[in-house]
């Protein structure tokens, strides 16, 4: 029962990672940009909501709704001013540019808000602490459930958007062949800018959940980025539903790892990531054909 409960909590935790990873996956899928500032953008979003809550006293969820347009504009402008230029000079430049952006965001946040830790847990109402005891060993937290439902809704909405709307087709077409997309009348710059706007908006949603479920400070971003990145890789780079599955797999690995030893939680996630990485991209490619050759050679004899 403890293990089952751990796995359930892992699914909730993983849904949070999936939300964080979603924007990262969009930007990689559409533009092949690995956004190293993604975690910092999520934390930046959390600070925007924090400021709104501090000044108006509204709930964290309303603050998120208010921050959303700000984040969309931020993403759009970020693409047109920084990322677009960096994309023109090869695939490594966006990596450097977003790494720089990450440092800039962290330091601006340090300047503006000091290194104190903050949280929005107190302004999210009953969601933060509410839970249901299903059986003696199994409990479902309200926040975990909210995060899971929102994650499924976000991924479902994205799926519908990409498969049913013209804008979604334009995004997929540009992702597959930007040059050919231009030739059929698609403004690839505009598509890229919208993709980044979506990614930044969803990052802010990740920031909201981070701020409610625990605490954040100006340098919380990189840790979030690592989990988000692991979720994307485990699920398969650029695959949408894969990212949701990857996030949940990572969450479950961490909570199950914590059952072995509390300090083993994060390590278990890293191990899963490494195993997937090696199986898919590294040793797997060398090892599997070699194993097959050996088998064939033996069969031939």
């Amino acid at each position: 029962m403890t293990l089952l409960n751990a796995a359930l909590q892992g699914i909730f935790l993983g849904a949070f990672y999936a939300v964080l990873a979603c924007g990262l996956s969009i930007m990689f899928g559409v533009m092949r940009i690995i956004n190293l500032a993604h975690g910092d953008i999520a934390v930046f979003g959390a600070y925007v909501m924090f400021v709104i809550v501090e000044h108006t006293g509204v709930s964290a969820f309303i603050a998120f709704a208010a921050a959303l347009p700000v984040m969309v504009v931020l993403g759009y402008v970020l693409q047109l001013t920084v990322l677009e230029r960096s994309l023109k000079s090869g695939i490594l430049t966006p990596l450097l540019a977003t790494f720089g952006l990450s440092i800039v965001i962290q330091n601006l946040l340090q300047l503006a808000f000091s290194p104190d830790v903050r949280s929005l847990g107190g302004s999210a109402g009953a969601v933060t602490t509410g839970s249901w005891q299903v059986t003696s060993g199994l409990s479902v937290s309200a926040l975990g459930l909210v995060v899971l439902v929102v994650a499924v809704l976000v991924f479902g909405a994205l799926q519908l958007f990409l498969s049913r709307t013209r804008m979604g087709w334009m995004m997929r077409a540009t992702a597959e062949d930007a040059d050919a997309a231009e030739l059929v009348g698609i403004d690839s710059r505009g598509v890229y800018a919208w993709a980044t706007a979506f990614a930044v908006a969803i990052a802010a949603l990740g920031g909201l959940f981070l701020a409610i479920r625990s605490v954040f400070d100006p340098v919380s971003g990189p840790t979030q980025l690592i989990f988000a990145f692991e979720a994307v890789v485990i699920g398969g780079m650029g695959s949408l539903w894969g990212t949701l599955v990857g996030g949940i797999a990572l969450g479950v690995a961490q909570t199950l790892g914590a059952q072995i030893h509390p300090q083993f939680a994060v390590m278990a996630g890293h191990l899963l990531f490494l195993v997937v990485l090696i199986a898919r991209y590294g040793g797997g490619r060398d090892f599997l054909p070699r194993a097959r050759r050996l088998l064939l050679a033996r069969a031939g004899r």
Binding site: W169, E176, A180, A181, L183, V184, G185
Partner: protein
Amino acid sequence: MTLLKVEALDCRYGLLQAVRGVSFEVAAGETVALIGANGAGKTTLLRAVAGAHRPHGGRVVFDGVDITTLPAHRRVALGIALVPEGRRLFPSLTVEENLRVAASPRRHGRWNMETVLEVFPLLRARRHTAAAKLSGGEQQAVAIGRALMSNPQLLLLDEVSLGLAPVVVEAVYRALAGILNEGATVLLVEQDLTRALGVAGRVVCMLEGRVVLEGPARALDRDRVVSAYFGLRRPA
């Protein structure tokens, strides 16, 4: 009336100069074939007209407007559509999505999902199939249909017969003949000389980035074209 005017166009890939000072005109309703050996600069020239290649010098004027610096998607809105070499479909999109994503909301005319499927009836059954799973001929039909969806005034066709079985090429050209007969303006690149001379009203022959021969298809005899094509002797 002149629809397309190319003036002293220079195109480069780094140090390599692919198109050298090319000038020619295409009148509305005309079908012009660009011919020439591999590497003569035909594809680069078409891509420069479509906006996929930024020329190094010279001008491209379409319908009286200088479009030399306009990005490709804005040229589509003005009425230029290119069927690129190698088809370049969006592999994960279905046939229908490939076509509908190219429909220009601002350009109206004869072409829509229904009329494109009438010209290429073989696509009707494949409507919901991903483009990656189509045969070469089906892909070419989608590529041409996709270009038509924007209701272009000028259709650019780059090697539509490349890599297709002869019987499929025949079918593609039969469909094209219907489009050409309706008075569309077409600039096409074609390796097959006989076919180019058969379908085009006028022929422009390129060699090493320059125009070496130009004239009405009927007035050109094959020997002159062949020698210009291979550069055996340069026409005076």
